[in-house]
Structure formats: C-alpha cells, structure tokens
Amino acid sequence: MALIEIQKVNKIYNTTSVAVQALKDITFKIEEKEFTAIVGPSGSGKTTLLNVIGGLDKVSDGKVLLNGQDITVMNEGKLIDFRLHNIGFVFQAYNLIPVLTALENVEFVLFLQQVGKKERNQRAIELLKQVGLEDQADRKPAELSGGQQQRVAVARALASHPAYVLADEPTANLDSHTAESLLDLMQDLNKEHGITFVFSTHDSKVIRRARRVITLEDGEVTSDKIS
C-alpha cells in the first residue's frame, strides 16, 4: 500500500465568470521515505495539489488515499484530526506563532495532540537539537533569521511524528546559502530517519536534490521522473 495515492483527481474552481480547472485527472502514488518535488510554472496547480494531499482543499472528483484512508470522504473534524496526527506542514513564509518561543512553537502541535507537558517539552528540545537550534529555544520568531525560522517550522512539522511532511515552496524566502543548509537538513532527516518529504517548488536547488520530480503543467502531470 502506497503512502499517498492520488486517483483521477480533478479540482475545478468555480469563479463568478468562469470555471477554472486547476487539476485534471491527476493520478500517482508516493511511497514511504520518498523525497519528491512537485514542480511547474506558476499557475500549474502544484500548490493546489499539495493542498489536496494535505487535506486542506477538497477535490471536485477523484480519490486521495493517505495510508489507505480516503480523505475526500472525511468530514471537517476527522480531517483536522487526520492532519494533526499524519501530516507535517512547512510553509513558504514559515508561519510560526509570533508570540511563542521556538520551543513553544514546536511544543504547540504536541499540545494539540494532548501530549503531556514533560513529554512534549523533551520531544520539542530533541527536535530543536535535530534542526540545530537547541540554543535558540527561548527566542521568539522575530528574533530568529529566516533560515532559523524555517528550521523551527521543520521541527514543528516533525513534532507530531507525521507520516509525511508537505513543504510548500520552503526555500522561496531564503537566500541560496540558507536554502542549501535547510535542504541539507531535510535530506538528512529523509535519509537518516526515513521521513517522507513532498515539496511544491520551482527552486532548482530543491529539484536537483529531489529523488523524484513530478512536473505539472496546466493542472496535468506532464512528467514523473525518478532519479
């Protein structure tokens, strides 16, 4: 059983004047421990696809099976629960909670999972160590650099022991050196801990490192290459 299985997924946005088909008959599978990039030009549908895989957006047609569970039939509550326990998110703009420290940001997901205070504190410290920020644990996002914030975001994404991590343009706001460093971290996590990463990106640095690249154009998969 594939970790992620997309079956004939269509997504149509009905605007006031015209219906826009963002995804057209998308079908593919992603296995555990993959390091996959979904690429394509702006408007090709890669973010929409990532949102669909992340259970953030509903499909118009088709099935999205995650660990064999069809998330397209789940209600809102179940989807939130599913996201909480199965999916880690890394966003382009880091999106950390500004009033919480790095440690608390990582802890917060564990709090949502109702993990006890002692355990979540230990795990959050451990994750910050993994991303090389244990000495920045008490700093708030505004006191961290962009690269450090994105590392905290990665630690937060990993906090819930997710089945996979979805990263939407994670390097878009970083300089090239910081981006490479972040990708090193993600690659290490993938290789050493077997964490599955799925990126939506048009950054060549990410594409170069991805072991699989799915290319989208006008909402359709035009190529699916494994290196």
Partner: protein, 407 residues
C-alpha cells in the same frame, strides 16, 4: 494551560490596542463602582437614618389607630406588652409614645404638629432624636415641667428661639380642647426637613398632668439586636400579642423606604449593565481587529490540526483576559476610592437643603456591598463571552487554505 498562555500572550501582540481597551475598562469599572458605592451609601443612610430617627425596627399600634389615628385609639395595656417585649431575647430596647395631633402656636403664627409624649430615657435607647439636639438640651427628669424639644426648622417657621414659649393645643380624651404652654429646652436637627417641621417631643408625665389621666400610649417602638431575623422576631411577638394589636416591621410601616432598600441591588445591576454594555462594543472592536490581523496565523493553526472549537475557546479566553485584567484593576481602584471615602466621608453640605427634603444625610459614606463584586464578576464573564462571539465565529469560519495565503 498552553492555550491559556497563548491567549494571554496574544492579547499583548498589539500593546497599544490592548492598553486602550484596558484603560477604558479600568476607568469604566472604577467610576462605576465608585458611583455604586455612593448610591449604596446613600440608600443605606436613607434607610438607617429613617430607622434611627423615627421608625425603629418595629412598631406596635392598635389596628384602629393605624386607620384613624385618634387619641382615643390607644394601646389598652401597654405595660404588659412592654414587659413582654423586654423579655424577648432579640429585643434590645423599647419606647412608648403618646401620639397626639395638635397645633403649635407662637406669638406670630401656628402650624399643625404631631406631639410625641415620650419617656426621655427610654427614647434615647430607641431613636436618635436625643443625638440630634443642636441647641439647648435633651429632655430629662431634672427639668421643670412643660419642657419641650422641637425641630430647628419648626422653630424658624414659628419664629421661636431657645427658651421661648410655645403653646400646644389638642383634643383631649373626652373631646375637650387642651391648651398648654411649653418652654423650648432644646432644638433638634435631623436630615429630614419634614420630620423637623412637624414633630415635637414632650415628657409623657406632662401629658398625664394635662389630660388628668395616665397619658395614653398609641405606639410602642422597639429596636432589635439582629436585623437579619426581623421577620422571625416579628412573627414570634405577634403570636404573643393579640386583641387587635399590630406588630409591624419598619418595612411594613414605611414601604417607600423598603422599596429604596430593595431597589438598590437592581439599580446597581442596571448601572453596571450600562457601563459593561458600552465596554462591550470597545471589546468586540478590539477583538475583531485582533482576529483580522491574525487570519494567516489562524489558517496555520487550523492547518496543523487545531480544532475549530479550540480556536473559538482561545478567542473567548483572550476576551476574558482583556476584560478581567481591566476589571480587576478597576475593582482595585474602585475599592480603594470607595474605602477612602467610606472612612473620610463625602461632605455634601452644599446640597443640604435639597438632600434633607428627601431625608438624605449631608455626609455620605460610600460602601460596596459584597453582592456588587459577585454581580460584576458574573456580568463581566457574560460581557467577555458576548464580545468575543462575533470575532470568534469569524475566526472559526476561516478556510485554512485561503487564510494561510492572506498577507
């Protein structure tokens, strides 16, 4: 706990905005509590001064006297009733009154008065007339016969001075007209102008001499030890006192004073309600602005797996913290201000003419009944929840996929 910490930290994200609503809450609650303290002090002094001045805790009359107030409608065996009253454990003091409507005349003018025949020593224990003497002395046994004390206002009306002669005329028990000259030994001034203008006090023994028989007792006034068990004491006494003699509490005798006492709680709640209603809009506005500023954060929280009900709760908590931080500071200031003036009093003597027309003392001692704190707490909880409803509903209706992309 983490939700509580997050909510607390969230309200300080925009310090200026939060401080403005906090300041409004502090000012609103402080001034609200102080005004309530003033009103409570005023209500309390209206009630207590009426009880001290004339009502006592309870009064006893014949049923007929209550209707017609004639000199002949006296209590037949007052001594046995007084003995019975004095043997009751909750009765503190008892005084007998002869009440005779009559005319008070000076050389220049005359006016209708109620003549109180009293036993001066007993009266001291029951009413505050003896403490209200501002000129001359109170009645006592060492004075010559036909001494009288009258209100300062009545003296002014009749153009009389201390030691002046005043002539009282009234119908005797046989329907005959009794005239007698009294010498003013003292003048009293209470905080009720009407009382001072219409009541005079003479020793009961002088009335006995004038009437040629034991002065009739129309009213027995008593003070109880514990006002909380007033009704119980009344019913116990009424069971023992029969034959058309009525035992009534001050609340039955002066329902308008009771209404004043009873209405104070309601007035306080309405007053607090008005203040909190005004604050509600400010609080809602602050929370709404705060929610609109954080759309992307809420999108992230919903995306990573925060239940909508938790998000809702978080905004309610933020509202709760905002209102209660201001509320607690406001209560502290309000309490401090009220306590200060409770000790030092507020001198309203510039308004004495108007106030005394309503029986309100010119020195006001504000105080806050404990029920005000309870009501304020309940009302602030309700206000904070109502204020948070619209912003919270707006937040939980966000779609994470759209909210995350909000700039």
């Amino acid at each position: 706990m983490m939700m509580v910490i997050l909510a607390w930290k969230n309200i300080w994200r925009n310090k200026k905005r939060s401080l403005i609503i906090l300041a409004a809450t502090v000012i609103g609650v402080t001034s609200g509590l102080f005004v309530i303290g003033m009103m409570s002090g005023m209500y309390d002094s209206i009630v207590s001064s009426a009880i001290n001045r004339e009502l006592g805790s309870m009064q006893i009359h014949t049923a007929e006297y209550k209707k017609d107030q004639l000199i002949s409608q006296f209590i037949p065996v007052p001594d046995s009733i007084v003995s019975l009253l004095r043997s009751h454990p909750d009765v503190q003091s008892v005084a007998r009154h002869s009440l005779i409507e009559g005319m008070a005349s000076s050389a220049t003018t005359a006016t209708g008065v109620m003549i109180f025949g009293i036993k001066p020593e007993d009266e001291k224990q029951v009413t505050s007339v003896s403490q209200s003497i501002i000129e001359g002395t109170y009645l006592d046994s060492s004075q010559k016969a036909n001494s009288i004390i009258i209100g300062k206002k009545l003296a002014e009306k009749l153009k009389l001075k201390l030691r002046s002669r005043i002539v009282l005329s009234f119908s005797g028990l046989e329907g005959n007209i009794v005239y007698a000259a009294f010498r003013i030994s003292g003048m009293f001034q209470t905080n009720a102008t009407l009382f001072d203008q219409t009541n005079v006090f003479v020793p009961q023994q002088d009335l006995t001499a004038l009437l040629g028989t034991e002065a009739p007792v129309h009213q027995i006034v008593l003070r109880t030890k514990d006002s909380k068990i007033l009704e119980q004491t009344k019913s116990e006494l009424q069971k023992k006192i029969h034959n058309g003699i009525l035992v009534e509490t001050w609340k039955e005798i002066a329902p308008e004073i009771k209404l004043t006492a009873d209405s104070s709680d309601i007035v306080n709640v309405i007053f607090l309600g008005i203040i909190l209603f005004a604050l509600l809009f400010g609080l809602t506005n602050t929370l709404l602005m705060s929610v609109l500023d954080r759309v992307r954060d809420f999108g992230v929280l919903l995306a990573v797996g925060m239940y909508r009900r938790r998000l809702f709760l978080m905004i309610i908590l933020e509202s709760f913290f905002l209102s209660f931080t201001g509320g607690i500071i406001g209560v502290a200031f309000g309490w401090g201000l009220t306590t200060y003036f409770n000790v030092n009093g507020i001198d309203l003597s510039v308004l004495s003419t108007g106030l005394s027309a309503f029986g309100i003392p010119t020195m006001l001692y504000p105080y806050l009944p404990s029920v005000v704190y309870r009501n304020l707490t309940i009302m602030m909880i309700i206000t904070s929840i109502i204020a948070a409803l619209y912003p919270a509903i707006k937040a939980v209706r966000l779609k994470p996929v759209e909210a995350i992309r909000t700039i």
